[in-house]
Assembly symmetry: C4
């Protein structure tokens, strides 16, 4: 009997992922909530008098890239959390590999408010292409790491033995469109900021629609 057995006493065949899931949820939730800090209260231009109601209204309206970037980032992280939530239901235990790729994912999710702020500030300026390249490039990295978490989580030694190979295969396939399409958005950014952000938006909309239609990652309500 090795000393490691001390750690397996309480375990057996029960689910052992509670603390990792709770911690991941916390980081996802906080990263999403911090996105609001990228929405700034506008100030009247120096030298101009105080805002009228119409002036404040149009200053708020002119910040639309910030709202757009907020919604895109929030929805992309939320849908990622939902998938995380979904496939972790199949996971029975945690090992160091899963813990580390998941930790890397959390690091990247935490960074999301930064490229979001860059896009919010520079989308409609001459520097827009660089901002969109950063944004989409960030999501290339995130989606690749997310896929690695998925692979690490769905290894046979990690999932519940009752999960069928077909389910695992289907789950892997659903997420595999992320990296190439975010890469396309990155490559498109220097040519068209609209196309780039449009691909990012289309991706989370696609995941919402497929999730609703096939209800793949949630138990049927019956």
């Amino acid at each position: 009997m090795s000393a490691d057995d001390d750690f397996t006493n309480a375990a057996g065949n029960e689910k052992q992922t509670a603390r990792l899931e709770a911690f991941s949820d916390g980081v996802f939730g906080i990263a999403m909530t911090l996105l609001v800090l990228d929405l700034h209260v506008p100030n009247p231009p120096v030298g101009a008098g105080p805002y009228t109601s119409a002036g404040l209204g149009s200053a708020l309206a002119s910040q639309w890239p910030a709202y757009f970037a907020f919604v895109t980032s929030f929805a992309s992280v939320l849908i990622m959390w939902m998938h995380h939530h979904a496939f972790f239901r199949l996971v029975r235990c945690v090992d160091a590999t899963l813990l580390f790729v998941n930790g890397l994912l959390l690091l990247l999710v935490t960074v999301v408010p930064f490229p979001t702020a860059v896009v919010a500030k520079y989308f409609s300026t001459p520097a827009g292409p660089a901002a969109c390249t950063l944004y989409a490039g960030m999501f290339v990295v995130i989606s690749v790491v997310f896929y690695l978490v998925l692979l690490a989580a769905l290894r046979p030694s990690i999932v519940f033995p009752t999960v069928s190979p077909r389910t695992l295969q289907r789950l892997r396939r659903t997420y595999s469109i992320g990296p190439p399409l975010y890469l396309l958005a990155t490559i498109a950014a220097p040519f068209s900021r609209w196309l780039s952000m449009g691909i990012c938006t289309a991706l989370w909309l696609y995941w919402v629609v497929t999730a609703r239609r096939r209800d793949i990652y949630l138990p049927p309500a019956g």
Copy 2:
């Protein structure tokens, strides 16, 4: 047997909403806590010397719209969390529809610090009406989405079978005053910022009082 059954193995008739509730709680709590970032430490006017104690005191006092907006937003989100807490006790399982409308609600709750900051800064300026329109308008959208979450959560396929139709009906009725009254506050904002914010305040006070008097959403202490 379809592959989806893998997801229902552990389920049966038990409550399956823990992770969604925890995640929602996290987002509600963080959004409420971030409101404090809208309270700014005052600085003496450029060119004036450092504050005296009296000067700091009156600078702090003159920020009262920020405190008022803070309390209104905090209380409104807290009472929403309490109702969320209350009706999720009846929910047995989660499907994609509930997950997505709840996700939309979280997005909107996350945004609350932004209109709060706008009201804090512009309430007592000429741009006050625009600030209050934004604020109340935001809560129209939030209260509508909150009502959709309620409808999605209280479907027969989602709640515990033991919940009576009368309970469901009563719950739906309690929240239904939110959207029309927030709409009234939005329409009133261009005419009177006080009336607009007063309606928003009256609403959360009303919900506190009814919740206390009827104790509707909590188990009796016996």
Copy 3:
């Protein structure tokens, strides 16, 4: 059978405070963590060249009121959380009264970073007395509301029936020194900022020491 019974089905005599405790913990934790945002990276004075290492070092050192305020606020909120944690172990269920006074406590805990920032910025300026009055005054209100939460939580209809009256009495007594001493710190602030902050510091140190010596709110390790 009233419709309210739907809410008590799952309950019986079990502990029903999990979601309230988790939510409170979240708000306590976030409020404590946001305190770090009151620590600002110093900037060289306008017109001076970049900092040397010695310059940065002495600029960092001159911010000591900010570190002092950070530690005082963090420790005060942490000890409050620990007591919250302790007496909620005796609580069996939650009603609207407890939920609302607890909500008011969370609102006030959330505000703590604001007076902390005011003290951090103005402690060693002529406005120091006003800053300390605000700080200690805030803790008067918090400690009164904390005491109300304690009273609401330790009502006979709320605690587990096995808790003895002597335990309840002792718990109430431990916290009752908070409001009068914070009031003293508030009154002392216009005369001596050091005395005022000293009382605030002495209080949390006292609670740490009594908690350690009597171990009152934790189960014996045997």
Copy 4:
């Protein structure tokens, strides 16, 4: 029967650390997430026109010390959380000593974004050595307190009786390299900022590698 027994009723031999672990996780998670606030969106120099895409790109690239400090801090706190997670699996109950050293650790973890911001801003300026001294010095304190938490948590009266002395000894040894090496990094900072930050980086990489190779703190997947 003393009044303290009221607190032990529900307990017996079960694990009683849930709320402490959840609270610690929350603080770790929030501190890690707040690190992103140290990444600032660059502004064009005063007087220069708006950024071109190339200008924004090079401004973003020139912020590399901020990214480096972000990754180092995030990884250091994450690996600390993982070890915290690991050895708390052996802990059966909580006493005041453990609660207070753990509270002190949380205070220090909360502070991490501050020295990180100092390094991010001053690493490549003449004040770099002072910034690195602060950063590494902070981690000396954190690693000492972490070691105290470990000692407090692994006392025989606190851990599960089934944990072997050999396991406890091995756990203590793994972390014991932290304080001396962070001290070395602090001493090295005035001579070489690169050496100082390099030691900090090497430490978390070392902990990742040993954790993966020996899988010491996680149950084997079988």
